[in-house]
């Protein structure tokens, strides 16, 4: 159950997608998202879907794992779908009952909205699935580098992010363990009304918070022991190097965006 939460989880591997520079991958995800919001009709969505499929294929992550990540947002998907279905009143009316009206326009908007969100999530998941948290934050820190001139604490933000990402799986594991231990003592997390359920969480949350604070304390000590004092003058073990395949990927990404924009705005496809 808890293992289904794949947010921010990294699938180690050695494919071309894994080896790409994290900056390239982050930029590609941004380009992909921008393109996704320009897409209008089957042709443009199709092109982006093909692009996504190719990336997934190369990464060897597997569509199954990608779909599993969709589970936690299923509610949002259904919610947006239903809302869009009834709110949009363009086109011809197909069905009418009280305040509810379904039109061709509504169906169209709802359909594409759900597809868009699903593709959005798959694309970003692909990034976190194929990029280790360390590389990811290195990439973000590097991309945000210019903001340092404006006194934005880029390094601190990146460090906080990498710590947070790093501890998501640990905390999930810990939650799982405490849950099992309390279940072994007969705790029941699933039945009862809302108040019962909230009360049932106390045996889970108290130990979880205690251990999170303990962990934070230990981590702070460990960092201090290694003389960590912020990003000033800190060198890297792994230097990010841009290679040929990164440029090729990036240029093809920009080309993709251009094609999608032309098709969407020029031809309404």
């Amino acid at each position: 159950m808890l293992k289904d939460i794949t947010l921010g989880q990294f699938f180690p591997g050695d494919t071309i997608v894994h080896r790409l520079d994290p900056r390239t991958k982050i930029l590609m995800v941004i380009i992909y998202i921008v393109a996704l919001f320009q897409a209008k009709w089957f042709v443009t969505y199709g092109i982006l879907l093909v692009f996504l499929a190719i990336a997934v294929r190369f990464s060897k992550v597997g569509a199954k794992a990608l779909m599993r990540g969709m589970k936690p947002v299923l509610f949002i998907l259904i919610f947006t779908g239903v809302l869009n279905l009834f709110y949009n009143t363009a086109g011809t009316i197909l069905w009418h009952w009280g305040i509810f009206t379904v039109t061709t326009g509504g169906i169209r908007v709802a359909f594409f909205m759900v597809i868009r969100i699903m593709m959005l999530i798959s694309g970003t998941f692909l990034l976190t699935y194929t990029t280790s948290p360390i590389l990811l934050t290195d990439g973000i820190e590097c991309l945000l580098g210019p903001l340092k001139k404006l006194r934005v604490p880029v390094h601190e933000l990146a460090m906080m992010m990498s710590i947070a990402l790093r501890f998501i799986p640990t905390l999930i594991e810990e939650t799982d363990k405490i849950m099992s231990a309390q279940k072994a003592r007969g705790a029941d997390f699933d039945s009862g009304n809302l108040i019962d359920k909230a009360k049932a969480l106390i045996p889970l949350l108290v130990p979880l918070f205690v251990s999170a604070f303990r962990r934070a304390d230990e981590l702070a000590t460990a960092m201090e022991c290694r003389c960590y004092h912020g990003g000033e003058g800190r060198t890297r073990l792994r230097q990010l190097v841009y290679t040929g395949k990164d440029w090729i990927t990036l240029i093809s990404g920009l080309a993709l965006l251009a094609v999608v924009c032309v098709l969407a705005y020029g031809f309404g496809l």
């Binding site: 794992a65 405490i178 231990a181």
Partner: protein, 288 residues
């Protein structure tokens, strides 16, 4: 005698259908009889923790059956929950699961979930606290004020208070000093003797297991290669070493002595008492 707990052709596969797919247990058959004191041995990652979580219905087998008194515990939702009251499981580092305001309330958490009446809960809490050697005045303290060893006792008492027919302890002495370790093992042995309940002790320390158990089950790579008396299991010293497990130091000493040509009749000496007797016999023969 009818087994109290039985595993039949149990298989467990983690994360099926992902790159992390991993077969943790393969075709396990195991019978546990009432009143037994069993040691479960296996190195880290051998599947022993997975195995014990199947015994009380925390993990659902991918295939195969878990029988409690001959009935499948996965029969209904109620029977799965019920299994947890009959098979008590103390996790590794159980002190991290404490959450209540007082030690008393924390130990009472399990019995309360069993919907027992107040009087019975009180009796069980005091008795369980007695078994693990917690003094009366500690019961009203916050569990977070206690020392590591005391916290561990509270957590163990929390499971004992449910008075399970089968008590499983996963590395109950991990991270404790020798004195604390001996005390907890003594407590468990006393509990086993006075309650006559079945106890399964998971550990990778041979000395710890050899001292008290009547039967050893070895877990390796998701299978159970050896299952029998300590004597029969420790006679496979070579295979055990290949699995990353050892045999008790006393046994090693005596095997070496035998190799050196001393007339030791016993095939396998594994406790201090046996060692003393064997040495006395040797002295009697005038060999030493």
């Amino acid at each position: 005698m009818e087994p109290i707990l039985e595993l039949k052709q149990l298989n467990c596969i983690y994360s099926q259908g992902t790159p992390f797919e991993h077969q943790a247990l393969t075709n396990i058959d195991l019978s546990v009889y009432p009143g037994e004191y069993i040691g479960i041995m296996g190195h880290t990652g051998s599947g022993k923790s997975t195995l014990i979580q199947h015994l009380n219905g925390l993990l659902k087998p991918t295939s195969g059956q878990v029988l409690l008194h001959g009935r499948d515990i996965w029969e209904s939702k109620a029977s799965v929950r019920d299994a947890k009251f009959h098979v008590g499981l103390v996790f590794q580092y159980p002190e991290y699961q404490l959450f209540e305001e007082t030690v008393y309330q924390d130990i009472a958490f399990g019995p309360k979930n069993m919907k027992l009446d107040q009087e019975e809960i009180e009796r069980r809490v005091r008795q369980a606290a007695g078994f693990v050697g917690l003094s009366e005045d500690l019961l009203q303290k916050s569990p977070f004020e206690l020392s590591g060893g005391q916290k561990r006792r509270v957590a163990i008492a929390g499971v004992i208070a449910m008075e399970p027919e089968v008590l499983i302890l996963d590395e109950p002495t991990a991270g404790l000093d020798p004195a604390g370790r001996d005390a907890i093992l003594d407590n468990i042995r006393t509990y086993h003797k006075s309650k006559g309940s079945t106890v399964l002790l998971v550990s990778h320390s041979m000395e710890e297991i050899a001292r008290s158990v009547e039967r050893i089950v070895v877990v390796n790579d998701g299978r159970l290669p050896f299952d029998g008396t300590p004597r029969s299991v420790f006679s496979h010293s070579k295979e055990l070493r290949e699995m990353g497990l050892g045999i008790p130091q006393v046994t090693q000493v005596f095997q070496r002595l035998k190799e050196l040509g001393l007339p030791i009749e016993d095939d396998c000496v594994y406790t201090m008492d046996e060692a003393r007797d064997a040495l006395l016999r040797l002295a009697g023969k005038g060999a030493v």
